[in-house]
Amino acid sequence: MAELFVYGIVLGCIISLGAIGITLVYGIVRMANFAHGEFMTAGAYIALLIVSVILPWLGVPDTTFGPLSFGWRMLIAFPVSMAAVAFIGIFFDRLLYKKLRLKNSNAVILAMSSLGVSFMIRMIILIITGPDYRFYRPGIMRPALQLPFGIKIRPDQIFIVALVVVLVVLLHLFLQRTKMGKAMRATADNTELALISGIDTEGIVMWTWGIGGGLAAAAGMLYGIDVQIHPGMGWNFLIPLFAAAILGGIGNMYGALVGGLVIGIAEQLSTAVLTPTYKLAVAFIIMILILFIKPEGIFGGSDK
């Protein structure tokens, strides 16, 4: 059980990164982004392209860091892929959602168009790479560390949790301390008043897509390091991501963080009694229960 709990934290960290993006986009752009899972997939595959094609071609050595399963190649791929998916997020906003917003389209139309984007990205990846499962570094299973209570954990997993903590702290500092971060929170609070104050709210929307896309890419790569990657991975994450965002109170970044951990831990613990195939159902049941009992989420929306 203790071991499943620890694995749950690892999975929860990955879900949190994605859920934070969903909740930010929902709070500021005011749309449910059903393509968020595909942002994760895109991030994972862009990193695969970088570590297995571009960097070998550039002659970056395939060494690994100590007990970790990856080295310089992955470390270079990280920021590049995050930036690329940030760009993809902004690109689709410009191409589609912005135009729909200007026409005052309702929430359903925006959500459905993001569902379309989700299919597009997934199918493009599928066509290019085929349906196979892939690994950043095939065939090498690093020895696990033995922790107390019989917990076995791979160094990679410690790295995953550490990186998520760093990213979340950076995002927290950005939102609380910088002018742009405060303007993002202000826009989430009251878009009209933000405009009245002279804040360029369309610019804030771009920042939001960029941050959400970047975090999703990081989540996708971390999942790839921890497990594997395949074209449907992000789609499978969609329900846990929304469950986490709703659990924490949609629009509330800190809620999404906690919600992600809760969903991740619940999913992993469920494998003690259920087949792992039912993990998704666990997230779905939690989401339904929350919507029944406390639809505003545990932390009650973006604290209004």
Partner: protein, 234 residues
């Protein structure tokens, strides 16, 4: 000197014009009150001036510059600030952050300006780390006005600042408006509370059914029998 002029404004939210050929002007250092029954188009007039609504006819002139049709964030840069009647603070941001957002487009150091605003509203200084959403109605109104003042506006547009406030607070807010005016800011204020609004006004406009009905000095309008009967409750 005339600071702000609205000339022959026709505007509305749909094809229907709520305002029909409405004009008004604000001279430097004046308080101008706009009164009239519900639905007279008072708030619509402020929204048209600030660019939230695009007037179909007429023009808005600030000093000598035609600002008709500019978007709110551009109008703010020209020197007009606007306080909406409702949802006029950022509830999850602290008081201090609300004021910082008011200064969003300033690139210079606005610490001095913030200090002046805290001097105007000393309660806000004490509570500056508190979230605006947790404040009372009167304090919220002060945050809203403080936010609007951060840009050092030439003209401040206030939409029903006394709405929903307890009578005691209403007079506090009106005193604050007079204080703001004394610092050299011209003010255009829309009010239901017509008597109070005319008392402090240098000039008043009466609107009804989206049209100009009367305009005169504040005191004269107070003494006007027709105004008294229709809008001041006898």
């Amino acid at each position: 000197m005339t600071i702000l002029k609205a000339e022959g404004i026709s505007a509305g939210y749909t094809e229907l014009d709520i305002l029909q050929n409405v004009s008004m002007k604000v001279k430097s250092n004046q308080i101008v009150s706009i009164i009239g029954p519900n639905g007279a188009g008072k708030s619509t007039l402020l929204k048209s001036i600030f660019g939230i609504l695009n007037p179909r006819k007429g023009r808005i002139v600030l000093k000598d510059e035609d600002i008709t049709g500019l978007k709110p964030n551009k109008v703010a840069r020209k020197g007009i600030s606007y306080v909406p009647q409702v949802s006029n603070v950022f509830p999850s941001l602290t008081i201090q952050e609300n004021l910082e957002m008011g200064a969003f487009i300033r690139t210079d150091d606005f610490g001095g300006r913030m200090d002046e605003i805290y001097n105007l509203f000393p309660t806000l200084r004490e509570k500056r780390k508190q979230k605006a959403g947790q404040l009372s109605g009167g304090q919220r109104q002060m945050v809203a006005m403080g936010r609007a003042l951060m840009l050092d506006p030439i003209v401040l547009l206030l939409d029903e600042p006394s709405a929903g406030l307890a009578p005691l607070l209403v007079s506090t807010i009106f005193e604050k408006i007079l204080d703001i005016n004394k610092t050299g800011v011209s003010i255009a204020i829309v009010e239901q509370n017509a008597k109070e609004a005319l008392k402090m006004a240098d000039h008043g406009y009466v609107l009804a059914m989206g049209r100009n009905v009367l305009d005169d000095e504040g005191e004269s309008l107070l003494d006007n029998e027709e105004v008294a009967k229709l809008y001041l409750g006898g």
